[in-house]
Subunit: 343 residues, 2 copies
């Protein structure tokens, strides 16, 4: 049990050294399981450390050893279901190493990304995992100079600074468009976030409209919103669009949450889904299994992206000679659910 003296000064190695009558150096060795130490002294040191409630000072350790077991993970948001799942993939893999993820949130703002990145790099992390391929010039410069492996995640449509794990959102948009057309839908509405800042949503949209165009079809109507995704937003957008354009036969939502809101609205208003009108979202959010109809969606491989990125980083840290610039493209799976098959 740690001593309860309200010590304002945190304990140092020296305190443990004095308490155990062993040199600081040997104490350090014991605490890091490094080097040969006799069982006897090891035990004395461990007892003393525990008894005092010693917590090593990683700042000093990191400065001396020039190594920091931190991995910077930089993502746009924690408020939707997508990035927490990526994170959990990252943590899962890093748990098998001595690396620790540290999360920074950018709110989809390039300036904030720059700030967060600068802040995190100033702690000299062992690696960086960062969402997206679009960054300010300054951010890209920092990433290049970081002196540690960098893995850009979520997206592969672009030029990575170093390594990269993700899906092609353009391809995802195309695939969804194909599927919708195959099922005979023709008057298609798109509902999603304002996209200047969400590049992945933008790319899906581009892929989507491109494929439609190949079949001579244009988006019949579209509606953009800003702010978080929520059921109510989906209802509201859907109502607005259908009042304006009642003869749509498909609604493509840029994420599952507003898709779910739309679904609830449509069912409530007595629409036949997917007969009269089909719908689909994006992300394959498991949380929403359990809706009255299973929402068509596309799994964005979020957890796997986190896992692979972490693995790449861990490998590179363990073996710095590994090649840079590895790009891993995962394949999003279409989940037809029950809202896309017109049969």
């Amino acid at each position: 049990m740690p001593v309860r003296t309200p010590n304002k000064r945190p304990l140092t190695l020296r305190d443990v050294s004095e308490a155990s009558g062993v040199s600081e150096m040997t104490v350090s060795r014991v605490l890091r399981n490094k080097g040969d130490v006799s069982e006897a002294t090891r035990k004395r040191v461990q007892d003393a450390a525990k008894q005092l409630g010693y917590v090593p000072n990683k700042i000093a350790g990191a400065l001396a050893s020039q190594r920091v077991n931190l991995v910077a993970v930089i993502i746009p948001s924690l408020g939707n279901m997508v990035f927490p799942e990526v994170l959990s993939g990252v943590s899962e893999v890093l748990a098998n190493t001595d690396l620790q993820p540290v999360v920074g949130v950018t709110d989809y703002l390039p300036e904030k990304e720059e700030k967060v990145l600068f802040e995190m790099l100033s702690w000299r992390p062992s690696g960086v995992i960062i969402a997206g391929l679009e960054h300010s010039d300054a951010s890209r410069a920092m990433l290049r100079q970081a002196g540690c492996p960098v893995v850009e995640i979520m997206d592969v449509d672009g030029e990575p600074v170093d390594a990269c794990v993700g899906i092609s959102h353009r391809r995802a948009g195309r695939k969804m468009a194909e599927s919708i057309l195959q099922n005979g839908y023709r008057r298609i509405g798109f509902l999603g976030t304002k996209m200047p800042l969400d590049h992945r949503a933008r790319k899906r949209f581009e892929g989507f409209t491109q494929t439609l165009a190949k079949s001579g079809i244009e988006i019949t109507d579209q509606e953009f919103y800003s702010g978080g995704s929520a059921l109510a937003k989906g209802r509201e957008l859907t109502q607005k669009m259908l009042e304006r354009t009642p003869d749509l036969d498909f609604l493509y939502y840029s994420n599952d949450m507003i898709g779910a809101g739309g679904l609830l609205y449509l069912l409530e208003k007595g629409y036949d889904v997917p007969g009269q009108i089909g719908i689909a979202g994006f992300n394959g959010v498991e949380l929403l299994d359990g809706l009255p109809r299973k929402l068509a969606s596309m799994d964005a491989c979020r957890r796997e992206i986190g896992q692979r990125a972490a693995q790449i980083l861990a490998d590179r840290v363990a073996n710095p000679d590994t090649d840079e610039g590895l790009v891993v493209e995962l394949t999003p799976k279409l989940q037809p659910g029950e809202t896309l098959n017109r049969t």
Copy 2:
């Protein structure tokens, strides 16, 4: 623009000093906006730093100054909507200071909490915000010895180590029970997480059953699950319970997500909600506004908890003489929604 030489060695103050022809000390002053520096040298230094792409080494800075602008925020999970909202309250307030939140996740496991806490304290943060009042002996010892302000959040039913911001979950449970009884419901089922690890859910349950007991009523049926909250889980639990105990007239869910799943199930099966059967959840998750009926719930003041905790910490860091042990109890608001009023 930073030079693109693939420098493996990160730049140091000295590099900037040499590039600008100014002493390291003055460079340091410029980069921290500290002390008087002439406009001329300030500019030269800034130019040199930007030109080189210098990123200061916070490890060295922290060691030298004995100050770290990090706040450890330790929470059980990112997967439900509750903690991200707390975090966003924290970030919002800390954004006005030079403090930076660093998040650690415990998965509701005391051993993991201990590990995460140890890890974070070893970086000597300026403060700790940690969810809950229940910690292992070792964790409490670390918190006491941390040498920085500690704010325990979410809950006030217990003995804080230092400061504390939250709601009384026992009181919340009681309040919900009162409301349910007032609305004439009598045969009540409880559905929630297995609670040995979720102390707040446990306390709500305790408060809930206590108040029922005062009216001579016992929970008619109960069902516990483990794993994340999701719509499907709510459906499944609800079905199971109603098959076993068909004559329930109220279902109290330990969180909004499974409550929402239950609601969808009940409506689908043609139950009259809230006439035949009332339901309520917990948390007041905004994300779910937009369900077919507005779910009765109780706002847990998540964002405000984050804000207040961060504010307390910021004040204590700015003025270390401030009193310790401040306890702030917020009042959860009942949101009757449309699933609790029998009329």
